[in-house]
């Protein structure tokens, strides 16, 4: 095409050339830059909000954790695990029941763990382990002999012991030799509870220890302290339940 033809073409259409170029450029900018970026901006706004919330939550969590003394917390946890261990603690409970019986003025005649129908020692979930909400328990039959006047003391000591024990049945028979001496057979449920599976949640807020929690821990510590040193209670199970 000759230069003169180009000039003629330009002269005849010069009014529309630049606007058409602008229009095409605008369409290009809208289609490839403005529209996609605006959509991404809107989509990412929600994600940004979530990031901000998560950041604030985690910072609050960090601040809350930094307030706690690790050793003190660990000690309190041990106290709680003595009271309600993660698994059965047959060895510990037998010593404790003997201790409570002696403290209450009773002599322990026998302590037996209830067996299943097959007659084999209880174990796993096939024994008469029952579930109360999140709690499990195992049955113990405690037979003691002692003064009738001290029975209420025995029952109170059992129910306020540092280890969670519930009384199911009470059978009392007078001793043939003396009406003041009784033979007591107590069916007990000793509670324990494994940890829930979803205990640790990364994004959930951290619980705090309330005044009631501190009082309960203090009561448990005092109750454990009254148990004689000859029967040192220790929590049953792994030192670190999360390993």
């Amino acid at each position: 095409m000759k230069k003169s033809d180009l000039v003629k073409l330009y002269q005849s259409h010069k009014l529309y050339l630049f606007p058409v170029t602008v229009a095409l450029s605008s369409i290009f900018l809208i289609a490839f830059i403005i529209y996609p970026q605006t959509i991404k901006l809107i989509e990412n706004q929600k994600a940004s909000g979530d990031l901000i919330s998560k950041s604030k939550l985690l910072e609050t969590k960090v601040a809350a954790l930094e307030r706690f003394n690790e050793e003190d917390l660990s000690q309190k946890t041990q106290v709680a695990l003595v009271s309600l261990p993660l698994e059965k603690d047959l060895g510990e409970i037998i010593g404790l029941l003997q201790q409570i019986g002696a403290q209450s003025g009773f002599s322990v005649a026998s302590i037996s763990v209830s067996v299943n129908n097959a007659g084999s020692p209880s174990g796993g979930n096939t024994d008469n382990t029952a579930k109360t909400a999140d709690l499990n328990d195992y049955k113990i039959l405690l037979s003691v002999q002692g003064p009738k006047v001290l029975l209420q003391s025995l029952l109170k000591n059992l129910e306020s012991s540092p280890r969670l024990i519930k009384i199911n049945n009470i059978d009392i028979a007078s001793n043939s030799k003396s009406s003041e001496i009784i033979e007591v057979s107590l069916s007990l449920s000793v509670l324990y509870a494994p940890l829930p599976e979803n205990l640790v949640k990364a994004d959930s807020p951290l619980p705090d220890l309330t005044q009631n929690d501190e009082e309960l821990i203090s009561n448990l510590e005092m109750a454990e302290a009254t148990v004689s040193s000859s029967n040192q209670l220790s929590p049953k199970g792994k030192a670190n339940p999360f390993e």
Binding site: L58, A80, I167
Partner: protein, 183 residues
Amino acid sequence: MKVFINLLPPEIVASELKKAKFYKVQFIAIGVILFMIFISSLTLALRVLQSHNNSLYKTKIAQAEQKISDMGKTQNSLLVLKDRLGMISQHYKIQSQQSKMYELLDTLVPSSVTVNAISIDKKGTVNLTVLTSDPAVLDQMIDNLTNKEKNQQAISQTGVDGVSRSASGLYRVSFTIKQKQDK
């Protein structure tokens, strides 16, 4: 009276009008393209700012998660402690029905009555066997068990299962006492 006379030839007038129209269209087109460039730049700038902020928050989150991980033992202890305390508080020092029933019977059974056997089951139902030689004391005991004021409204039903009297005048009485269930 003013008279307006345009001495310009019509071709020049048309040409001037065409020129004016041309400049007007060019001006609008330049305005539009500048506006488009401005909007594009603004959008890109906002996206860059958003990405930058997201990166900052992600960094903060990573740092916080690292700190929480370093304090994992403290967190685990706290969670285990709260879990335990929640359950312990529901059961610690809670007097059982059986224990309450025995405590009540201890006050209702006169001291001169000999308790031969007591059995308190899971529901708090009591099977009681007593011995006494004095029928008046026996009457008093039955009154204690059945009187709502004396039994603290804790007993819903008292039944006598059996009465026997030995040759020596010793009464042997068996009771079934049902505890009032809390609704």
